[in-house]
Symmetry: C2
């Protein structure tokens, strides 16, 4: 890519960004679109547009800038606040680097003549060089004393990163502690999850077993327990029931709509009961659905009873009547054999993954390692599944598998297009599916909460993108050419990486610019959700609930958002010394990101769960990984530059590791466990324990009529008399 | 060493053993020696010799064999019981190996002709071969199919080891749980150690700070706290006082002794106050000492006050009025910053290392790593300090440093002897000093209890002996000869080790035999302590307390005993396949050891502390390390034997690691922490909390007159008024 095409691409992105900004300003002022641009405020029952109606189209910028961390926490939770700390930390790293690097390194590089010399001596063979390269380290002569400036800059960037991540860790620790300390009653702070309960002893029910175990240890603070059940059946019935309820609602809405017109008595909506409503008997919809609902309610009730009675598993929730005991219990070893009665602080009820609660200890361990191996294989050999998919999706195979496609495929024009695009399509589909695949894999590790599973998936995705996008693009073909050299001497990987990096600098500059101009433009303008919403509203929504479902926003999607940001961070860091020009781009990416996402956090996204900042240690580890990659790359690059003093960089990765270790020792445990100092704070009110307990009952089991204890007592009675008989 | 000299050495050792057994039988029946042979029973107030006086001289064997684990625990504590489980586990491994290996491998080896062939082809260059070697794997031809038997035997021994260590871990877990569950009140189960307390806030005393922190978290169960003080001064005064008390006692005894003779009024003992009682004023001893004691008691009291008031440190003991809370508190995170308010389950008061309690968190970490580095350097380059010592202790240097030695050294005969022995002497002194040096190093890590420090020292000593004794002897000069080859290819270390091993087989056979015949003979007969006791009694002891001090036995000395046993285990294991003849020797070592040490545990040694089996995970890790060494060595040796199927052994080390990981996950935490299930058992009586508290007050501070709380209250009053002013 030469300089002019770089500018063209930059300009195009910028124009798109401007257009999207204007589109946003115009669309968001239309009250009909408020549900798309202010859903978080609407769902919280607030006035969508703060202040007067005749606000400036750029008022959101002022609002975002003037919002405090407290506002973010109250509108979007602690996790969002932590995400902004992350953004501002990374922004700070780039700004502080820019302050020193831009005025120093660019002049030092520009006034040298390394490229000219290289051209003269014809030692320059790889890569195309252009004006941009004159401003980069590539323009410094081999072994020149000017490299000292770059070497010191490498240290400067590292220490800036240490300082700011340290501050961030400290700040987030305090945020987390404060959030856990609030006097509001949070159900999950009173509960623990108990797993791997040993088999029920003779003459006891599961509930009695759990109760007697915990009552003995916590005689004063134990409140009650709830046995985890296998809810597969009951969930299915409940979902079916909910489906019919929605259908009934729609029929009633249609009936009501028909009434208001010419015919005051209305037309009763009818439908056919067969496949897709196309065949079968024609019935009165309202009557039919009401009948179905009655039937299902009965089925559900009996299934609820069976579930509570017979599908009890070896896991339970235990509730305590104060927070400190629950926090303490979650950290304690309870049984003398570690893999029995294992305890976990309860996650929020809404993010529980029930089926994972009753997976065995051993199975969890095995699953975890199996998943790690699978993911490692996927990261290193991700071409293989794509290859397999491509192989299956070649035209010949497709026509064999799906013979009815044959006539279509045989048209020549279509054939050519398909043959050209099928492999790329396979790649695109694979990459699109990947985050969900990783989430699925993380969940199948046996992780019991959505938040934790998303964290785990996010970590996997980070390594995937860094290895495949960043290193993949950089090393590209070079790696395969010199594969034999690497086999001979694995240490040659670092200089190879270092020498391939400069060639991709312009590519990544464009990549970052595209990401922030187009990516954040789309993010702010929400064109796609808007179109989908209006389409759905027009053609699919038949009642109020349907409309609400159509506009209800998702959450931030940290699972892909954070790895994406970290990829930009890694790229920015690795190029910061080599091509300091990348720093302003990184600054814009994180600055603009902070601004636009602040708006989205305050007005759009609704968090799906709250983990009180537990994502941070993961982000921190990835930041350290990026730092290490950066330091190793720079070490290699100084070697390529034949700089005699390159070994002065050797202490850097060691310092990074020590720094990470110290942070881990000092802060980490407060993220894994809850400090008692924090939970012993006074509560605003005496907790309503019945309500705390109820909030953990899944909706499919919480019927007004069913009182689980009643049944459990009955059962315990039965089994006791059984054992006496 | 040829076969006949091997037999001679074996015979000599056996004769020494027999003599020592007879000496034991004769001496132990003499009531005057009971304090040496039955001190544990005497100190526990039991009749020294169980049963009748006219017992057979070998009754101890029957007693040892018939003693149960409960007897051991009641006489010598859980740690001793764990040590016997270790001995019997290792014994079991060798017995079960012998059952298969001896009848199979020895005939397989003996009927081949590898040595003859090797001699014929002149490929045999290293090592001397004798009759013993005909019974070992060395006699099997290279690449022969007979090696299959040895390969399968390698697996057999490994699986026997897994099975028995698993059983041992399970058993010891139960032992530990049972010991912690006893209804007896143990002071340390009610206390925790708090370290890294943040600076005292304005207007509070340290005690108020600690009390309010814990009272808030444990409102119902907090009993009281005790601030750790710097006791250096007060300890010095107290020891001085105790010394004078002893001297007074001696003088009084001397006075009493003089009375009973011709002169009924007796002679008052006198002594000179100057250097060693040789110069200075002559005074009446009783009067002088009484006066000194009065003086010191006053000094001590005022120093106690100062210590309690002004030498408070940032550590404290916190007492709870039930065991479960203390156990739970020790496992919980209390402060939101992990390196503040760090908690530790309190060790027994008697094994506390006070000065280590108030070392900072960061300093502890740094010290730990510094010590690790020092020990690693010592293990790998232990010749260097010895070299330095040797250099200093050459005659020329010695005469320079200590000129008064010159006339002695210049005598020719002495000069020759000294020149020959000084370096060896340096080595012997270094090896003798080593365990204490390692203990000192472990203590300077900041470890707060004797038991833990001894465990740490024991681990270090194990690696030292295995690396320097076992590998040192085996590789010996060979390593230096081929040092360049290893530098070129580090992987060649394993085959090198493997090919040097057979040469040292006879050496180790003799070594093991010497260890058990002479070592255990001396152990049982207690010749050395007996002689020392009688000498002391005759010449040094002047009062009853002196006599008791002279016979009071030590403890088992796990710090050196366990590494010694593990060295024999490692040797036995590594040679078990190569030279199966070593197995009976190992069996005798551990069998005889079990028997003789059982006697010592029941009758002689008095444990200095009790850790409830916390040594076991360390032993377990060392067993795994030995197993890995064995498996790697065997893999290398099959390679040397040019056996094509040697790679079949590759899974073994992996299995070992997985096995260790599973055991660690399943059992370890119950050793690091106390399971709540265990502590929530009922107590025999309501604990006397005052007594629990008092037991943690060091003797130098526990004067009847000093009530620390009184002073602390006074001080808190003062500081409060101060802050109000």
């Amino acid at each position: 890519m030469d300089f002019s095409s770089f500018l063209v691409s930059l300009g195009t992105s910028f124009v798109i960004f401007l257009v999207l900004m204007l589109v946003f300003a115009w669309l968001s002022s239309n009250p009909g679109n408020h549900v798309i641009y202010y859903p978080n405020r609407i769902l919280k029952g607030l006035d969508p547009t703060v202040g007067s109606r005749t606000r400036s189209p750029f008022a959101w910028i002022k609002e975002a800038l003037s919002s405090s961390e407290k506002d973010v926490i109250s509108m979007s939770g602690v996790d969002s606040a932590v995400y902004f700390v992350f953004l501002s930390t990374v922004l700070g790293i780039f700004v502080l680097s820019a302050v020193v690097l831009l005025p120093v390194l660019i002049p030092v590089a520009a006034t040298d003549d390394g490229i000219k010399n290289a051209k003269k001596n014809d030692t320059l063979s790889v890569g195309t060089f252009n004006e941009l390269d004159r401003l980069s380290m590539g323009n410094v002569n081999l072994g020149s004393n000017r490299l000292w400036a770059f070497l010191l800059a490498t240290y400067w960037v590292s220490f800036v990163a240490y300082y700011l991540t340290w501050k961030a860790y400290n700040h987030i620790s305090a945020l987390r502690a404060e959030a856990l300390m609030t006097p509001e009653v949070k159900a999950e702070q009173f509960a623990i999850v108990v797993r791997d309960i040993p088999p029920v002893p003779q003459g006891q029910t599961r509930k009695e077993q759990v109760d007697s175990f915990f009552r003995k240890i916590y005689p004063d603070t134990f409140y009650r327990s709830m046995i985890v059940t296998d809810n597969k059946e009951v969930n299915k019935l409940w979902e079916e029931l909910e489906g019919y309820k929605r259908k009934l609602e729609r029929s009633e809405a249609a009936f009501a709509a028909s009434k208001t017109e010419a015919k005051p008595e209305g037309t009763k909506p009818m439908h056919k009961t067969g496949f897709l409503g196309l065949i079968g008997e024609k019935v009165d919809s309202i009557e039919f659905y009401s009948q179905k609902i009655n039937e299902l309610v009965r089925n559900l009730e009996s299934e609820q009873k069976t579930t509570l009675r017979e599908k009890q598993k070896n896991a339970a929730f235990v509730f305590f009547n104060n927070r400190a005991t629950a926090a303490s219990a979650a950290q304690n070893l309870h049984a003398k054999i570690v893999d029995k009665w294992t305890i976990l602080a309860a996650p929020e009820p809404r993010q529980l993954i029930w089926p994972n609660l009753y997976i065995d200890f051993i199975q969890r361990q095995v699953r975890q390692y199996v998943v790690y191996v699978i993911v490692a294989l996927m990261i290193f050999f991700y071409m293989i599944p794509i290859g397999i998919i491509s192989a299956i999706t070649t035209l010949n195979n497709l026509t064999k598998l799906l013979p009815f496609l044959k006539p279509v495929v045989n048209i020549n024009a279509i054939k050519i297009v398909l043959e050209a695009y099928l492999p790329q399509l396979a790649l695109i589909i694979f990459l699109a599916v990947l985050p969900n695949l990783l989430l699925l894999l993380s969940k199948s590790e046996g992780i019991p909460s959505e938040g934790h599973a998303e964290r785990a998936a996010s970590g996997k995705y980070f390594y995937f993108t860094v290895l495949n996008v960043f290193l993949g693009v950089t090393l590209g073909g070079a790696l395969f050419k010199t594969f034999k050299d690497i086999q001979k001497d694995p240490n040659s990987l670092v200089p190879l990486l270092a020498s391939s990096l400069p060639g991709s600098a312009t590519f990544f500059l464009t990549f970052v610019a595209l990401k922030f101009f187009v990516g954040y433009g789309l993010e702010l303008s929400r064109i796609v959700p808007l179109i989908i919403f209006h389409l759905k509203k027009k053609f699919l929504c038949k009642c109020e609930a349907d409309v609400k479902d159509a506009w209800t926003p998702g959450d931030f999607g940290y699972g892909t958002r954070i790895p994406g940001d970290l990829l930009i961070f890694t790229i920015g860091l690795c190029y910061s010394i080599m091509t300091p020009l990348i720093i302003p781009f990184s600054v814009i990416y994180f600055g603009l990101g902070w601004l636009i996402l602040r708006n989205q956090a305050l007005k759009v996204y609704v968090p799906a769960y709250e983990t009180y900042g537990r994502i941070w240690p993961h982000i921190f580890n990835r930041i350290i990984a990026s730092l290490l990659l950066y330091q190793l790359t720079m070490f290699g690059f100084f070697g390529v530059k034949k700089f005699f003093y390159a070994p002065i960089l050797i202490p850097l990765p060691i310092i990074s590791l020590i720094f990470a270790f110290i942070c881990h020792t000092k802060f980490y445990r407060a993220f894994a466990d809850t400090a008692l100092e924090v939970t012993c704070n006074e509560l605003k009110e005496v907790p309503n324990m019945e309500q705390v307990f109820r909030s953990f009952v899944p909706p499919s089991l919480s019927s007004e009529k069913v009182d689980d204890d009643q049944f459990e007592d009955a059962r315990s009675q039965a089994s006791r008399t059984g054992s006496f008989a």
